[in-house]
Every structure is written in C-alpha cells, then in structure tokens.
Amino acid sequence: MADAGEKGGSSLLIIILDTNPVWWGRKKVSDEQFSLSHCVDCITVLANSHLMLAHKNKLAVIAAHTDSSVFLYPQYPGKQTAAAKLPDDGQYEVFGQVEGQLRAQLKMLIMQDKEEIDEMYDVPERPSDSLIAGAMAVALCYAHRLEKECPIGEAMSTRLLVIKGSEDCPAQYMNFMNAVFTSQKQNIIIDACILDKDSGLLQQACDITGGMYLKIPQLQGLLQYLMWVFLPDPSTRVKMALPPRAQVDYRAACFCHRNLIDIGYVCSVCLSIYCSFSPICSTCQTTFKILGPQKLKRKKKS
C-alpha cells in the first residue's frame, strides 16, 4: 500500500480541520451523536494509520479557526510541551504523542475562545465560516519547508486533506485560489471531506489538483470514509473502487456583489468579473468604449 515508501520517499499528510465553534455548536445541538471529540477521534485514527503505513511518513494537523490557523500537530518547538509521559501499555510513542498534542492544542484553542467570550459583555455574532485559505497557505509553507529539508535524492509526496463543516468564506476567494494554484504547481493534491453543505470552492480545488472530493453521506461512518477514501495515496487510489466524481460547479463570483453568475462581463485588461456592464473597471480603472450598450442589445436579440 505504501507506494511512496517503496520508491524510498516519504509521504506527508496535512490535515486541515475546520474548528468553527458556531458550526460545531449547532451540530452538537441538532445531532447528539456526532461531536467534535468524535471527529477528533476519527482523525487520530487516520493520522496514526498514515504514520503506520511507512516509517518515513510525516503528519501535520492544522486547525482552521474563525480567526486564526493553529498547528495542532506538530507543536511549535518553542512551546513548553506537557511532560510527555511514556505510554504504559506498550503503545508506539508517536501515536500517543499525536493524540495527546491534538487534544491539548484543541483544548487550548477552545479555552481561548471561552476566555474571549467571558471577557466581553455583549458577545458579538461569531462568523459561521472558517478561514480555510489561511490554513491552506500555512500548510503549503510547511510542506515547502519540509521538502527543502528533505535529504537529496529522496522524494516526498504531499497531500492536503480538508475536513470542513462550515460554509465557504467568499472574502477568501482570492487567497483560496492562490493556494489552489500553488498546490497544483507543487504537485500537492487537495482532498476534501465535507461534513455538511457542498462547497463549490473545494470542488474546484479538488478537480484542479486531482484530489478526491467527498461529501460524507453519513456522519456516523466518518472513520470508515476517512480510512477508505483518504488514507490510500493517489497511486493506490487508481486501483480502488472509489465514489464517483461529483459534478463541479465552475461558476465564478462577480467582484461587485460576490454572487455566483453564469454569464457576466469580464474586463479585458485585468479579467475582473462583473455581473452588469460598467463603463469603468473598478479594479484597474480602465474606461471602456460606449459600445457596451449596443452589445447588450445584440445579445438580447440572439
């Protein structure tokens, strides 16, 4: 199974976990069976299985929060780690480390949020989307660094797995697309595991980079899906019967209202998209010929 291992290279799996408190809170209220801790359990199993496949395999887990991206694993080396106690049941130390750090860091993240809320009298509405693009950018930088540190002659294949429940953040479109094109350039595959509503942006990302996009039909079986679809590396996936690719929504968002549109106008200089004709491009200040309205008429006729 460990194809990268056979070639003498290592494989890096970066898991981006959406830890949006609003979404997880709602989930908790509506669905008693599925909670963040259950999800973290599943991720721990996936992470450990990945590490188990080959000795050289590496792992990173990043939390995409409402207002920050935090490394859950590995920890920032400068920080004081909780006295790493050796497991007493003969478990491989790294497994214990992964689980311990994941939980500790998540706990810290949640406590920070709690403190923030406690300090304020009138709690502002928390945004219900997470900054996935930030976490992806951090992940790409991390992958870039590890690739540089990789000894010469050894190949490293990298994969990003985004586990996301909350909605897309339209303000991040640019950052998100930059991250996607960068990963395409660096041969990094983006997989998406969607827990709730379909995400158009991630569909595009997976399609562009050749990753798997999967909306989990049943959250109870999250672990099964993770192990079945997202654990095997891309070279192995070809040989497996995986869920068929979904339709991809390739519509673009206009710059003026951030709506998704089918047909629109594109500035021929800077390629900004507008949903209606405007005589001056607001991005690059180009003025267009008044031929525009005529064109409109012609369009209506056709």
Partner: protein, 323 residues
C-alpha cells in the same frame, strides 16, 4: 489575452546535431515546456502551432487553449524527418490568415523558431512583412544558427525581438522570456486605441465536468454553454452556436494574483535562538516568517498566510478589491 502562433522550422538544417540529440528534437522538447508555462501565465490566451518544411507552411494545431493537444502535436512533430527548405513568407501568410480575424483587444503575436539560414519564398517577403506590421502583429524570431538579415528586418518592423541562441540553456531562457506577455503592446499604450478595450462578454461556463477525455470521439463529460446549452469538452472556447466566450472560473482566477500582490515583508534582526538569521515580518498581520517562506509566499503563493488567517484583514482585502 494573447493569440500566439509558434512557427517551428522543420527544414533540413533542423537535423543538425549541435543541439542534443538533434535540433528539432531539442526544440520540440523545449517548446513543450514553453506551452505549459505559456498557459500557466496566460490562462485564457490561445496558442497555435505551425511548421514549415519543403518550402511550404502547414498548420499543426489550430489556435486553442488546451495545452495537452499542443504537447501531443509537438511530440508527433519531433519524430518527423526534417527535409526541404524553410519558407518565411508562407509561414507569415498562414499565420496572418488566422490571426487577422482575431479581436483587436487581444495581442496578436507570432514566434518563429528558425534553424535555417535561408528562406525560400514564392514572392516578395517584404510584402508579407509589411502586411504583418499593418495588422499590428508582433513577430519575434529565435534563430538557432546565425543572424539573418530578413528576420532582423521583420522583428524591427513589427516590434518583436530577434535573438540567436548561444546554447541550449540560452534557448530556454529566450523561450521563457516569450512566456510573459509583452509589457506594453502598442495598442495598450496609445490612448486613441484604448477605446478598443471593450468589455468582452463572457459566460463563466460551468457544470458537469467529470473527467475530460481527449477531444476526439464521444465522451460523457464536458461543459455546457449557459446560453444555448451546447456542450464542449474543453475550455476556453468560443461557443460555435451563440459566439459567447466560454471560460471557467479558475482560468480567470489564475491571473488575479497579479492584481493584489502581498506587501513586501520587513526584515528584522532578532536574537531568538530558534531562528537563525533575520526574521521577516508582514506589516499587516505582524506574523513572522523565515527567508524561505518569505520567498515562497511572494514568488509562488502570492498571498500572505498570516493575513489570510485573520478575519479583520480579510475584510480589508475584500473592500479594496471592490473599490
């Protein structure tokens, strides 16, 4: 937007072995790389390939936006035998006949890779050069052997660049130089021409993309035109039925990083033991980066990981992009 024809010389001088393994093979190999880079940098631009041998010019690929098709054609071309003579006039005429109908808001260019030192033309080549200059088509030539007077004249007249390679790496550099769009083509600097840059109507085409197969034959996947529901297997393309230009969102998004580049980081010297060397700080989000990450974010990623992780900075970016 660019419309570029690449003319590949396939005449007998191209079988010389001064480039390894032989000229044509080396050329096509570098052009494959060129095609990939071209579409990476110019996402909704079009490219076509011509070849010239036996005193004739022939079209290898139509103007199109699918890199794979061009690369396949190049691979086929590389195994052809080089024979006959190169014809500059025929190549220019053929390119002109295709480029003439292209809209004027896009730049029109011809790139000639020429190994031959002679050209065999049916008429006066200067007439063709004049026609190219009048049509505002920029012609550039990369010579593989020595400078040729008529090529130099062509480039001078049409505003292109003429270079002769020194060795293979220089050849590659020259091709890479052609990848970036010409900084200020004539039509964009002249204010009188500026009105030509009208809004081009585009349908961001969508839906139903499974696995794009090769362009030939039947396939179950494709893109639908939102206006007339015609189906296409590759983008970008102009709809044959309703002449709407069809592109997908990523094509447009690919060049957005030029619009909103991240600010340069400030270099700060620290005495932190963890980091060796200077630390780079983003002025907006006050996050620290190492030199490697600084280079990576500015050259490849084009967005600051720190700024992308703060909601307050998101909104700033969103509003600046709107106004």
């Amino acid at each position: 937007m660019r419309h570029l024809f690449v003319v590949v010389d396939a005449s007998s001088p191209m079988s010389d072995q001064d480039l390894k393994p032989w000229r044509l093979k080396a050329t096509t190999k570098l052009l494959e790389y060129f095609v990939e880079e071209y579409f990476d940098q110019n996402p909704i631009s079009q490219l076509g390939l011509l070849s010239s041998q036996n005193k004739r010019a022939e079209k290898i690929t139509e103007l199109g936006g699918n890199p794979r098709r061009h690369i396949n054609a190049l691979q086929e071309l590389s195994s052809k035998t080089c024979q006959g003579e190169f014809s500059l006039q025929n190549s220019l005429d053929l390119a002109l006949s295709h480029l003439r109908h292209m809209p004027s808001h896009a730049s029109r260019e011809v790139l000639i890779v020429m190994g031959s030192l002679t050209t065999c033309d049916p008429g006066d080549v200067r007439e063709s050069i004049k026609a190219m200059a009048e049509a505002n088509i920029r012609c550039s030539v990369i010579g593989l052997s020595a400078e040729v007077r008529v090529c130099k004249f062509l480039c001078q007249q049409t505003g292109g660049s003429y270079n002769v390679i020194l060795d293979e790496s220089h050849f590659k550099d020259l091709l890479v130089f052609q990848v970036t769009p010409p900084p200020s083509s004539v039509s964009q600097t002249k204010p009188s021409r500026r009105i030509n840059k009208e809004n081009k109507e585009k349908g961001a085409c969508l839906l139903f993309h499974l696995d794009s197969q090769t362009s030939q034959g039947f396939s179950s996947s494709g893109y639908f035109c939102p206006q007339c529901k015609s189906k296409y297997c590759e983008l970008p393309v102009e709809c044959k039925a309703c002449s709407l230009t069809l592109v997908s969102a990523p094509h447009l998004a690919r060049s957005y990083h030029h619009l909103f580049p991240p600010d340069a980081y400030r270099e700060v010297l620290t005495s932190d033991i963890l980091t060796d060397g200077p630390v780079y700080i983003c002025d907006k989000c006050e996050q620290k980066f190492c030199l490697d990450c600084d280079l990576f974010t500015h050259e490849t990623l084009h967005s600051c990981p720190g700024c992308a992780s703060f909601r307050s900075l998101q909104n700033v970016q969103a509003t600046t992009s709107v106004h």
